[in-house]
Amino acid sequence: MYEHLISSYIVGFIVLNVLLGLMAYMTWFERKVLARFQDRLGPTRTGPFGLLQPLADGVKLLSKEDIVPANADRLIFLVAPLVSFVLAPLGAAVIPFGRSITLFGYNVNLYVTDINIAVLYILALGSMGVYGIILGGYASGNRYSLLGALRSAAQVVSYEVVLGLSLVGVFILSGSLSLLQIVNEQSQSLSFGGLQVPNWYILSQPLAFALFLVAAVAETNRSPFDLPEAETELIGGFHTEYSGFRFSFFFLAEYINMIVVSLLASTLFLGGIDGPIADGVWWLVIKALIFLFFYVWLRATLPRFRYDQLMGLAWKVLMPLVFLNIALTGLIRLFGIGAI
């Protein structure tokens, strides 16, 4: 009983620290890839290939003055970045990084916890995470910050619905909300004649996958949906008044969110730890890297949406498609195709 608890804590500790390290190198990865897209070199001076750049950035941000504007709602202003930052890595707690292994005679699960509501839990974290942005924008006492916060609220409220509903098809097929069970379902292989195909949900739920991807980019406030921090219109947006490490909390929360969403997308649609030769966490890492690259690719390629286009896309295009997907999946399941 307690062995399980202790091993969970140890795995959780490792996952948290690896995630915090990865988040720093995600900034490096983004700068490098973005530079290549723009025919530049990116950071090169700090260490080999600029690998020490995240450290330099961190030192710079930590040594900056922590300014609280005179007009600010002080308590909320100080707490808001923490809300964003603390909630961001919690989603990784339900991602399965492997099944169970035996280590020194103990049975160790390679995930922090396998709860029955894992996917809903991540959605709930997403709906809490936006509080950091809204409260930060409100508490700054600055009109531009407030506008950024309002945009963010409208955006998240709209795309959250799409995000949640796009997963319903996956739930219908897998019959479970537990990520471990969803991964197990996907690791069964289907055979069409002589062709062996993995039961990855990207193949049976391509529409849901596309919708999830769009909604996930919007949920993490990344380009082209980065209206809350549109520097050309809002002088930065919700974090205009933040400086130093409080700003870096917002900044890093965004990168952790990207990583967690990439892990979630790989787990839900690409089979997670399931792979052609040997199952393991490396497949999950490779798949997540593909998504992270995709994020940077989008940022390098697409211009920002206009505000009305953003809302129109969510409610007039994505929403009907999501309902169509649910209806189709339900009908197919009802008539016994793809039944477990």
Binding site: L75, A124, E160
Partner: protein, 240 residues
């Protein structure tokens, strides 16, 4: 078991304190944030009670709804009034106090007249586990015994959605044939724009449109700096 009780005690104390914050905070945004804190603590208490599904729904539905509450506060209350906002007339306050007292009495009566333990429902932990977990158990109950209420709720929500759509529709879509209202802007710097010349006409106006002068909207103010336009200073304390 004792650890569970300890965690419950901590959570419930925070929840009650945050609930007090909801009614005592002067700033409505602080009230809303306190309410969110209360709901999160309630969700944690649900997790202790092994109602994980209820906990997550509590966060997604209620805490998400508070977000909208915060937005209403920000948009409907003047920004200058926010830090010290006292809502309501004296009569409203007395009425609210009385209603609150009545509700408190009802809750107290409900708690005192029946014990919380001893009357367990039909679903034991074993039955929930047999159903495949919390979500499956809730789903089975909702879609077997409560199908009719669920469908009634769905119809009510559908009607509300349609109502919102009708309200949000532009007039021209409801009354076909009416020319859709368009806002045309004419540049004042345009060589033909001052209307002084002989035989001048405003260019390219479709029939049935009105110009701003006829509608009589607002006068043109010419100022050198923003301070002349508004009595609010650009820097320093705001005038109330």
């Amino acid at each position: 078991m004792s650890a569970q009780v300890l965690v419950f005690d901590i959570l419930s104390v925070i929840a009650v304190l945050a609930a007090l914050g909801v009614v005592l905070a002067r700033n409505p945004v602080h009230s809303a944030v306190s309410l969110a804190l209360t709901f999160v603590n309630l969700a944690a208490i649900y997790v202790i009670l092994r109602a994980e599904f209820l906990a997550v729904v509590q966060i997604i539905v209620y805490t998400g709804a508070i977000l909208v509450l915060v937005l209403f506060v920000i948009m409907l209350v003047h920004q200058e009034d926010l830090p010290e906002f006292h809502g309501g007339q004296p009569l409203q306050r007395i009425f609210g106090f009385l209603v609150g007292l009545a509700l408190l009495g009802e809750v107290a009566a409900a708690i005192l007249t029946r014990t919380a333990v001893g009357q367990s429902g039909p679903w034991t932990p074993q039955q929930v586990a047999a159903a495949g977990g919390n979500v499956q158990a809730v789903g089975q109950v909702l879609y077997s015994g409560y199908v009719l209420p669920i469908q009634a709720t769905a119809i009510v929500l559908l009607v509300a959605t349609i109502g919102a759509l009708v309200l949000a529709r532009p007039d021209a879509a409801i009354l076909p044939g009416v020319i859709q209202r368009q806002v045309l802007t004419i540049s004042l710097g345009h060589p033909r724009g001052d209307g002084e010349e002989e035989g001048y006409e405003v260019p390219m106006l479709p029939s049935g449109t009105t110009t701003k002068e006829e509608a009589g909207e607002r006068e043109l103010v010419m100022v050198k700096t923003g301070d002349e336009f508004t009595d609010q200073p650009a820097w320093g304390d705001r005038k109330r």
